[in-house]
Symmetry: D2
Subunit: 399 residues, 4 copies
Amino acid sequence: MRKIINDPVHGFITVDNPLIYQIISHPYFQRLRRIKQMALAYLVYPGAVHTRLHHSLGAYHLLSLALQELIQKGVDITPEEKEATQLAILLHDIGHGPFSHALELSLLNTHHEELSLQIMQLLNNEFKGALDMTLLIFQKKYKKKFLCELVSSQLDMDRLDYLARDSFFTGVSEGVVGYARIIKMLNVVNNQLVVEEKGIHSIEKFLIARRLMYWQVYLHKTVISSENMLTQILKRAKAIASSKNLFATPALQIFLQSQSISQQDYLETFLKLDDTDIISSIKVWQNHEDFILSNLCKRLVERRLFKTQFIHESEVEKVYEIKKKEILKNAIISESEIDYFLTRASTSNETYNEMNQKILIFTKGQEVKDISTIENSLLVDTVLNPTKKYYICSIEGFS
Amino acid sequence: MRKIINDPVHGFITVDNPLIYQIISHPYFQRLRRIKQMALAYLVYPGAVHTRLHHSLGAYHLLSLALQELIQKGVDITPEEKEATQLAILLHDIGHGPFSHALELSLLNTHHEELSLQIMQLLNNEFKGALDMTLLIFQKKYKKKFLCELVSSQLDMDRLDYLARDSFFTGVSEGVVGYARIIKMLNVVNNQLVVEEKGIHSIEKFLIARRLMYWQVYLHKTVISSENMLTQILKRAKAIASSKNLFATPALQIFLQSQSISQQDYLETFLKLDDTDIISSIKVWQNHEDFILSNLCKRLVERRLFKTQFIHESEVEKVYEIKKKEILKNAIISESEIDYFLTRASTSNETYNEMNQKILIFTKGQEVKDISTIENSLLVDTVLNPTKKYYICSIEGFS
Amino acid sequence: MRKIINDPVHGFITVDNPLIYQIISHPYFQRLRRIKQMALAYLVYPGAVHTRLHHSLGAYHLLSLALQELIQKGVDITPEEKEATQLAILLHDIGHGPFSHALELSLLNTHHEELSLQIMQLLNNEFKGALDMTLLIFQKKYKKKFLCELVSSQLDMDRLDYLARDSFFTGVSEGVVGYARIIKMLNVVNNQLVVEEKGIHSIEKFLIARRLMYWQVYLHKTVISSENMLTQILKRAKAIASSKNLFATPALQIFLQSQSISQQDYLETFLKLDDTDIISSIKVWQNHEDFILSNLCKRLVERRLFKTQFIHESEVEKVYEIKKKEILKNAIISESEIDYFLTRASTSNETYNEMNQKILIFTKGQEVKDISTIENSLLVDTVLNPTKKYYICSIEGFS
Amino acid sequence: MRKIINDPVHGFITVDNPLIYQIISHPYFQRLRRIKQMALAYLVYPGAVHTRLHHSLGAYHLLSLALQELIQKGVDITPEEKEATQLAILLHDIGHGPFSHALELSLLNTHHEELSLQIMQLLNNEFKGALDMTLLIFQKKYKKKFLCELVSSQLDMDRLDYLARDSFFTGVSEGVVGYARIIKMLNVVNNQLVVEEKGIHSIEKFLIARRLMYWQVYLHKTVISSENMLTQILKRAKAIASSKNLFATPALQIFLQSQSISQQDYLETFLKLDDTDIISSIKVWQNHEDFILSNLCKRLVERRLFKTQFIHESEVEKVYEIKKKEILKNAIISESEIDYFLTRASTSNETYNEMNQKILIFTKGQEVKDISTIENSLLVDTVLNPTKKYYICSIEGFS
């Protein structure tokens, strides 16, 4: 069997393994077609409507290229290991719900990585243990560490794909990554994934592209605003649904009202949820009698968004209090409801974390070194320190 | 005022006119963010999830370039005409509903062009006549014919954008069009839009790219299957909703039950409808007690699609009867319900229609000629005849 | 061994066979670095300065992809056959001299295909018979016809690369070809190269792109002018060199004066010749005492080119006579010298030649059919007839 | 008048000013068609054969876009200033000779910037003072500083074009720069060119892309080797030409023998020199009786290059002495000739120089700040320090 999928980012993606094709065709995986990779970022970047399914296929494709490269270089990888690693990356995001970040802050009580694991276990049962090795690799427990690192590390195929894909669909060309070159430079030394020395500038460029995508796209002020609004909407809807009748699609209804639900029911309902449940319900809530809910929903649907302002840590309290007074002045809402319209928070990003799964360079002198210890490295202290930014996100008048 | 929008297809789109910005910000226009340009084609081409809003902005951008070019060449276009033409193209698709083609075959009774006109009139009232000239241009009644032709003809900026955009997002590189060159070759002679002679090969290439996109993408067999299934689902849902209770989002509910509804209510409800209403409802219908509805919905959601087969006209009846027998054999459905699972139909496309708003070439000898009459033209009889293909679309067993 | 070469058109080109690497490193092949693929076309398209070496590597790369594809589909291709076919395409243009077309019309007496063959034989001697099979494939004598067809036919990897490459470097985006898709659709039936039916639109697009590149680029009027001027320059230089002392680089000198020269000396000198010999000599000739030579050279160097005019066959004589009178009027040159400044000629191109090595389509019904016999084919009679254009190329005043 | 030039990097370049068109058509400018922008880098990156003419046109194009942007933002720029700035960037590289770097180290005694100035003055005489303002801008003496900065500074349109162009033609995608976004973010405050704050990440990316291009492309070890070999060849040829007869094209001959030559003759001869003079002469020198000259030339032509090794400063002397012994061991050359085959040197590059024409950011708080003083800047001390690398470049055996 051999299926070819058109991908504007990587060209053609080939699937030639029946088990992998079955997993891709499974309703759990097909559901990712209805979940946008970048949540509400399309409110700023209209092209950013690509899906988690597309990203998962892309990461699978890059991984396949990387495995082919390593095998050609003589690294020992069995057909079973190849399949298991391909499945692991294909399923690495299977636990994402719609608008994942906002949903985790409002309705869910389980992190998406944990959900990915549980869903893989469900599939493993269904496929009678065919995913045993996949589960080990996903949990970083498999003996060949470099396979785990290809799936999840600071230089995994997941990151390579999402940076390439997100810059492609947003049109932010600065995020373009030379993934072909990086993959050609991969190798394995002492069971660890390494990059040959002449690939070092490509890695630096990759880390800088990622840094840029964080500040320019993922943490764009308008994106922060819209995701904050969505979080508040879901919190308010949950508060209302506990006492009143509130329209929602059946799957969403369960999450709005979930007091006690068995883990299996939880998972099953979760697997029915996607972007359309959230958005179609929010559209209805625009006309709800609750002022807070309808106001927030109307704004989000019509794209009249809160304003986010980055400010110095020391100013946060002061600005927060001023904004609060302004908002409460007109007495439409009470002080206890202020959180729905005003948030102080921080966000941070690190270009490279030397504590974490390091990026290792294999020098011409046959040594393995952390990239941040290479002479003339771009990744010096200041760049290594995570950048943390404080912000206030608030409504600008109720009109 | 000056807003810049990132577009992966054209680079940056600039909006620097307050009225145009107000129209873009209007909920009617923002609604197009939730309607996919290519309906269900994403089931074949996973990248094809771009929206009608994005296409409308792109067409506006190309039109702006074309107007700039013509003005530089000395064509008389006033600022008012520029704005009106920009608005006309921005709003040319405003009457599209979700999954437009399937919806028009099942729930709607008005064509999207007529709806576009009605919605533009609504906006014109709201903006106190500011769209008067826009309406004339959209209806091809404005005196400067070439402005109307830029908005709608066989070489309009709408087609230029959708071909470029659809090939970009599907990854079908064969559809790429050299729009920059075409725009540079535009001119106006005797109030008609013409292409300078040295642009002739670019036009030929554009027509062939369009032909290719039709057969490879828009009329792809799997796309035909899924759109046919969606049409059958909506027809069945409408039939059920007339007598039984059926879950649907409020806006969709009205269309399912619409017996008599005033034109204004019709328009208002229509303007609330988008892809999420259809998809979120179909997901719920997967568990409906009606076998036909639930079976069709489950298949569509899980992407187990009908099979479409192109066959010779003379074979249609024979193949249809065979398929019909096969389907009815197992007696799950009755003969009167066969249309839900088996369709015979045809589809056609013409590369260039010489009867229609022609593409005119301005020769070096200063003559204006129909492109199909140019010596050595690619657009000879056989190519001019519309290609019509007959097909059977059918379920392959109920399992 | 494994070398990676950066190619802006195809990404990375990998060479992992020692013999192939030796051939690439050979001075005969390296000489192609100094020969522009598109001769003087850079006078119109400034980016078109890419070399025959680059094109040969690109064609080798596409061929390698095609062989990999066929092997994966189960076609029997031995490692020796793979290597031999790769060498055949790598060397298919080795017999091109600088500005090949103009040179063949003025100084050479052997066609470049014949020279390619002779140089391959030289290399085969040097490499002790390692190119025996390569020679068979290049001469279309090898038993596995499809290997010969990949190297030379209406759908060979040579054409695929030069169209992609030439449109890339000229910036004529209309020539872009979806070569990745075409390669994925290749197969072998009855020892013949075929294209699977669903690739038919890509082939049509490829033929149309080629047609467009011919008229818009290769046969661009200014390109015709400059190549005609170069031909006249070399003819005049040869005429002068027979009787007078004329500066030239040593290799060019031999061709200018070649009365009788052994075939081996001929080949050896030919292998020393490249673009720099021609251009550096022409620059010196700008100051030669012969009016015709210096005038033509000065014009070409300073890009003050002849004018080419396409006209109807029936008009050729008339226009030619008028031009001739105009040119001779001022009495700078005599009638016998008119050919240096005035040419009447024709040029033709055929989109697809059904007589030749046909492009075969493998239908879903498992039949093999010539692409021009497929229903609804674009390649109907009118398109199949070669297009022939007549032109006059002339100086416009001697000032 | 209006000419359109196809550029694969930027699309279409428009020239619509008669004086600018005359300058582009002038033989001094057309000469840049025969000088490769990246000298011998094509020995590593086969696509890097683009010319200085193409780059000059590209920089002119980006400058035109930048001026249009600034004018739209209300910056006062007169038509005369526009033209003069366009001419200044068009001519900024007019003083480059073939293989500029190697030539300046061997045959020339004037720096290319000084030559550019002298040639502009020649043109200014020919055009009767039409380039007066151009000369002021090129020399940074014009009152509107920002116009000078657009032509030459750490963020000039020259750099923007060459980074974009060089990465395009080499295929090193990591050098791709989001120039469109940078240009949209330009503004003028207090007569200085500034970048609006939200463009800061694009600037960081631009500086990192430049850093990467330096180490991966411009200072690639094989590029260093080949340019060093060319320098040695020209030095040896000059030494020989002083006493013996040596073939060379006439223009090159003058530079090889130049003892005393008037400045005007110097300039005139310089303006005749291009890549073809150097390469066609080197090809002949392959057979010269002088062992050193012929050996070096043969190696360069056949691409059997020296080896360059980056080493720590402290090791330079030691490694140099070892290499020297190795080379002299076989006694083919004498110790006094060692420099022709062995070089120790260093090369350096700085990502950003805060001492120089700074890159200024215009903050949302309306302040103008050096980019290196912005909070969380990537451009911290370590990155600001120029990176200096020491290397040894040597022959590896005479065989």
